[in-house]
Symmetry: C2
Subunit: 174 residues, 2 copies
């Protein structure tokens, strides 16, 4: 039955709707990207982060340039990538809120300042302090090429994952 | 208790070991990237894929240029991104095998050919047929900027996720 369904699947030309529907099926670990300048903190929730190279230690992040945090990231060339645990859904929602913005988002959890000045979430799975070494604009988004300079590793726990517009935890499979 | 541990977490300068350990904590949806030329198929398992822009529909993928599939992707400028379901662990393992390479990897599941010639896995969560419009080399890896041209969407099912060197399924959280 499953095989018959699969065989009849049609190829469709791409459209914004089909692209959105497809990308919702790409599961992603949930992160908060955060930066600071002149005592003002900014941050946003996203999943578009991936590891790039081990030497030098680099990752990339795709950010909408309309995001409130983008200008601070761009001007300081510094950002923290905070990997969230499955117990941090409220924070993921807060940092994607349409009503609560800027420094106010940082008031509901404990954030510390890393040596470089970027905010680090205590209780995250890991926090990576990154220097943005290059930026490539594509449409309304920018790909940030980030060299990782320092890290905070917390106790191991389950990650928060986003899939099909829902937050999920993980289930080990055989 | 959890909070006390968090507060005492130390910031450490980055090293390859600390970077690896951190990146293992970034959960990622598992994909097979596949391409074909002159009847030869190549593909590899990876998680370093993310959505970039909706208009045009673009995604990026970070590929090690040592990968057997890289040369075919580079020369054809075409690749399929196959999003795996949680029932497809064996395929994820097969396409990252150190002993089984090239076209032989495609013999254990049903793959069809998309209009552009790229292989599409039947029974994947979704398959995106991509044109590589730009490539940026960073160290041993290349970031492929992919414009999505067509898609195959199959029935909804749970995705396969990779976290901390393990394959996992998803667990809805409140």
């Amino acid at each position: 039955m499953a095989i018959e369904q699969a065989v009849t699947t049609k190829e469709t030309p791409i459209s914004p709707a089909v692209f959105k529907q497809s990308m919702r099926r790409l599961a992603g670990g949930v992160c908060i990207l955060a930066s600071a300048r002149d005592g003002e903190r900014h941050g946003l929730t996203m999943t578009a982060v991936c590891s790039l190279t081990l030497d030098p230690p680099m990752l990339i992040a795709c950010v909408n340039r309309d995001a409130g945090a983008y200008e601070t990231m761009r001007s300081t060339r510094r950002v923290s990538v905070n990997l969230l645990g499955s117990d941090q859904i409220e924070l993921a929602e807060l940092f994607s809120s349409s009503t609560i913005k800027g420094t106010e988002r940082f008031e509901r959890a404990e954030w510390v300042e890393m040596a470089s000045g970027v905010p680090a979430l205590t209780g995250a799975l890991a926090v990576l302090d990154c220097q943005i070494v290059e930026e490539k604009a594509v449409g309304q988004h920018s790909v940030l090429f980030c060299e990782v300079k320092a890290a905070r590793l917390e106790d191991q726990k389950d990650p928060l994952v986003h899939f099909d517009r829902q937050f999920c935890g993980l289930l080990p499979v055989a």
